[in-house]
Amino acid sequence: MTSPEHPKDVSNSGGARNPSDIVRSAIFDELVDRWLSKVAVLVAIYVTFRGHNAPGGGFAGGLIVGGVFVLQYLTGREPHVRFRTILHPTRLLGFGLLLALGTTVTPLFVGATPLESHIWKLDVPLIGEVKIVSSMFFDLGVFFVVVAVVLMILLSLGTRQSTVFGDEDIA
């Protein structure tokens, strides 16, 4: 920190709170917020649920949603869902862990081994037969954990960066 070249040598930083003046433009903003986020979230959900039968799954889906938040961040906003900033990603983390844990231990209470899958087959009008596997909930737990982890890292390394690594006391 005492290195004389330090303050001027920092790329992209300056005093601006947002790192991404380069990518920040109205069109980009609109594009990301209006379309890209929504499409990406849909893709993420699709990827998560198809995971049981085709490449994908909770981990990949969670990472895609994480990517959406990263994009939002790069356009100069806090990560948000429908204009609401996410304040407590740790709750999401706990929820995901509990969901996965719950799926792990629930079979024990009906006399099965931990994580044993149960397959429900439902007849939904107009759609036809829908197969639901209990391990889907486990995958959803993984999904939430991954989303929460990305958010937590983003929020702590991103937003509070200037105070974390501290430019102000050098300037």
Partner: protein, 766 residues
């Protein structure tokens, strides 16, 4: 079993009182009293006078073979009644004792939960079930000893008690595992029928004894019990003399018919019991605080019970069961009586007990009666049971063990008569001054005095009607050991035991009457100091190890990991030979090309001077590997790798934007060529090892099995995902937990750095 409902009720009311009814603990207390009564009724209706003991199984985790088994046999009935009746009595006492005390709600909550756990311990019919409730009693005891959480000594005593009894609980768990593996059962009745022997069984015996000795405060674990007297009097009376510390005795009683034959068991039990008896008795003789006197006397009496119950003679077992009842009755009376004196006169000093005589005549009289029972004076119940113990040990056909036990019990009895005599003198002598005014309400005074008087009354009544009580106690003893039949009489006629008793009483009274009432006080006992030393040195050792291995230098961690991994894999390669050169190139040229590209990226990452470029190159490595995954037919891996890589680059850039553009010059403690060598070594060894592992497969791959089972059993066509969420779901569970911990670590590291920075800038501003 309706009793199980009562147990559940105790837990529920306990939790409700501690959590929901904080402002109205009396409601919880009265609900608890009602549950106690219901439990007593259930026990009597279901357990008394039935031919076959009622049993119950609570399905818990049947898939893992973990069910809870209960059986309300004779011994279970006796112990449940002791637990529930005394619980009722002590709780009524506590209502007055805790008047205007804000910790009352917490006390009632934990007290009821404890009573439920203890009932579970005594009606458990296998070792596993007993272990579960055993641990619950340890936790409740911890909470109750530390009830006054503002007192540091109380907290320390609570920790000592928890760690000691908790360690014993772990031993018990070990015994459960050993017996389940070696014998195939932990049911007490099965164990008694099988009479198992062998090396593993010997190990289990040691563990069971450790469990029993820690819980029942036997030498060398006797130190925690006197410390536990930091708890309020009702707790001491109930947990630390009448019930919880008897859990070890219960365990010995349940298992000694199974293991009592082994000489190993007998010697351990007799030596520990006798030493404890003598230490407890000797210490009790020198206490200034009446409560501590009683605590040490409890230790001593537990030693006697250990010897009787554990020695493996049926008659001694019968005597032990009888003395267990006798001790519970008179010791509760004594503790509660001293508590009344403490409450009214605000003193527990032995030398001032006499002041209670004018103010609390009834309580003092009851204390005298209970003390006489403790000393074993005719016609009180203590006399009857102690006579039976002496007779049993005289008649036991066990050779040297019985002789030593007899000598130990006689010496212990001398001491126990002695400390009783000292207490008696303190109670009946002329007081130095008259006590001050009352401050408890009339109702409170009645509530406080009632259980004390009752306990004294029962000590006398059980003695006078000894033959009847003896008949009642046959069923409990028989349920433990089919040979343990005996009878009790008030006047046994002049025989060896009576003569021994007479000598014991005369010698003991002489010693006790001459012993000074104000003894020289000692600080913490040696046991406590030893415990603290072990505790501190364990923590110190951990700190030193951490300081030595966790230097905080990231390059050091990487270097150690890399060198150790390289060495391990290299040794495997040297033993089994390097993989053939062909296995490196039997791939499509494209794969080789991408692999080379990845290698180039990797080398470039290390040599570029700018952080930003390095991060991008590292991303290149990751994307290259994703391409390799696609080429080898692993789309799931490729997808995940791609996403992870993208996010990683962004996060890297976020962190990098406020760091200097160039890397700091490497520290000089390791020369550059050494770093390069380590990097090259691990880079060469890992792929070779991976190929070697693939070539040297012997067992069939699990893949085929997974592929066939994937759709049918787990309902998924993507076997990779099915492995993640089903077949190997436990691994995933662990991984996401690690991920969560890592994220919390990042957040907190950043927070700490921020706080330090703020503190520093605040400091520099001044």
């Amino acid at each position: 079993m309706a009793l199980l409902v009562a147990v559940l009720g105790l837990f529920l009311v306990g939790v409700a009182t501690a959590v929901g009814l904080r402002r109205r603990p009396l409601v919880g207390a009265f609900a608890g009293l009602a549950v106690f009564l219901a439990g007593v009724a259930a026990t009597v209706v279901e357990g008394v006078g039935v031919d076959e003991a009622p049993t119950a199984t609570v399905k818990w985790l049947s898939a893992l073979g973990l069910d809870l088994h209960f059986s309300l046999d004779g011994f279970g009935v006796l112990m449940s009644l002791i637990v529930l009746v005394l619980g009722f009595a002590v709780l009524t006492y506590a209502i007055a004792y805790f008047e205007h005390d804000e910790t009352f709600a917490r006390f009632v909550g934990v007290f009821l939960a404890f009573a439920g756990s203890m009932t579970g311990v005594v009606i458990a019919s296998d070792l596993f079930t007993m272990f579960v409730f055993w641990e619950l009693t340890s936790i409740c005891s911890f909470l109750l000893i530390g009830l006054n959480d503002k007192s540091e000594s109380a907290r320390q005593a609570a920790v000592r008690a928890l760690l000691t009894t908790g360690a014993g609980g772990l031993c018990l768990l070990g015994a459960v595992a050993l017996l389940q593996v070696d014998v195939g059962t932990t049911r007490f009745t099965d164990l008694v029928a099988l009479q198992p022997t062998g090396t593993l069984v010997d190990a289990a015996i040691v563990l069971i004894l450790l469990g029993a000795f820690t819980k029942s405060a036997q030498f060398p674990f006797h130190f925690w019990l006197p410390g536990a007297m930091a708890a309020p009097t009702p707790v001491s009376a109930y947990l630390h003399s009448a019930t919880m510390v008897k859990a070890g005795i219960v365990l010995l009683a349940r298992t000694s018919p199974a293991f009592g034959e082994s000489a190993f068991w007998q010697w351990w039990v007799v030596i520990a019991g006798c030493v404890t008896m003598l230490i407890g008795g000797w210490r009790a003789l020198r206490q200034n605080d009446a409560k501590l006197l009683l605590a040490h006397s409890t230790v001593s009496q537990l030693g006697l019970l250990t010897v009787l119950v554990g020695i493996g003679s049926p008659l001694a077992l019968y005597a032990g069961v009888a003395h267990l009842l006798a001790h519970a009755v008179f010791k509760v009376g004594l503790f509660l009586g001293v508590g009344v004196v403490d409450h009214e006169l605000e003193t527990r000093e032995v030398s001032r007990l006499a002041e209670a005589r004018t103010r609390l005549p009834l309580v003092t009289a009851s204390l005298v009666v209970a003390t006489l029972s403790m000393a074993g004076i005719i016609p009180f119940f203590g006399f009857v049971t102690k006579e039976k113990a002496l007779v049993a040990l005289l008649e036991a056909d066990l050779g040297n063990v019985a002789t030593i036990a007899l000598v130990g019990v006689v010496a212990g009895s001398v001491l126990s008569v002695a400390y009783s005599a000292r207490l008696l003198r303190a109670l009946v002598r002329r007081p130095l001054k008259v006590a001050a005014e009352h401050h408890t309400s009339r109702v409170g005074a009645i509530l406080l005095a009632r259980p004390v008087v009752e306990a004294a009354g029962f000590s006398l009544a059980f003695g006078l009607f000894a033959s009847f009580v003896g008949k009642v106690l046959v069923a409990p003893a028989l349920s433990l050991d089919a040979d343990a039949k005996g009878k009790l009489v008030l006047w046994p006629g002049i025989d060896d035991a009576l003569l021994i008793s007479a000598v014991v009483i005369i010698v003991g009274s002489f010693i006790g009457w001459r012993a000074p009432l104000t003894a020289t006080r000692t600080g913490g006992t040696r046991g406590e100091r030893t415990f603290d030393r072990i505790y501190d040195s364990t923590l110190g050792f951990a700190k030193r190890i951490t300081a030595a291995t966790q230097t905080g230098s990231l390059p050091m961690y990487v270097a150690v990991t890399a060198v150790v991994a390289t060495a391990a894999m290299l040794s495997g390669l040297l033993l089994d030979g390097f993989p053939s050169a062909a296995s490196f190139v039997d791939d499509s040229p494209m794969t080789v090309l991408v692999a080379l590209l990845v290698a180039v990226f990797a080398v470039a990452t290390v040599v570029v001077p700018l952080r930003f470029t390095a991060a991008l190159l590292l991303g290149g490595v990751g994307y290259g590997i994703a391409v390799l995954f696609v080429m080898r037919g692993a789309p799931d891996l490729a997808l995940t790798q791609l996403l992870v890589e993208t996010l990683t680059i962004v996060i890297f850039l976020l962190a990098l934007r406020v760091m200097p553009r160039r890397f700091a010059p490497a520290s000089q403690w390791v020369p550059k060529w050494a770093r390069a060598a380590v990097a090259a070594a691990i880079g060469v060894v890992v792929p070779c090892f991976a190929l070697l592992v693939r070539e040297s497969r012997e067992a069939p791959s699990v893949a085929a099995d997974y592929l066939t089972r994937s759709v049918d059993e787990a309902g998924g066509a993507n076997v990779v995902n099915v492995i993640l969420v089903d077949f190997r779901g436990f691994d995933t569970m662990g991984e996401i937990t690690v991920l969560a911990i890592a994220a919390l670590g990042v957040v907190n590291l950043v927070r700490v750095a921020e706080r330090q920075r703020r503190a520093k800038s605040a400091g520099s501003a001044k």
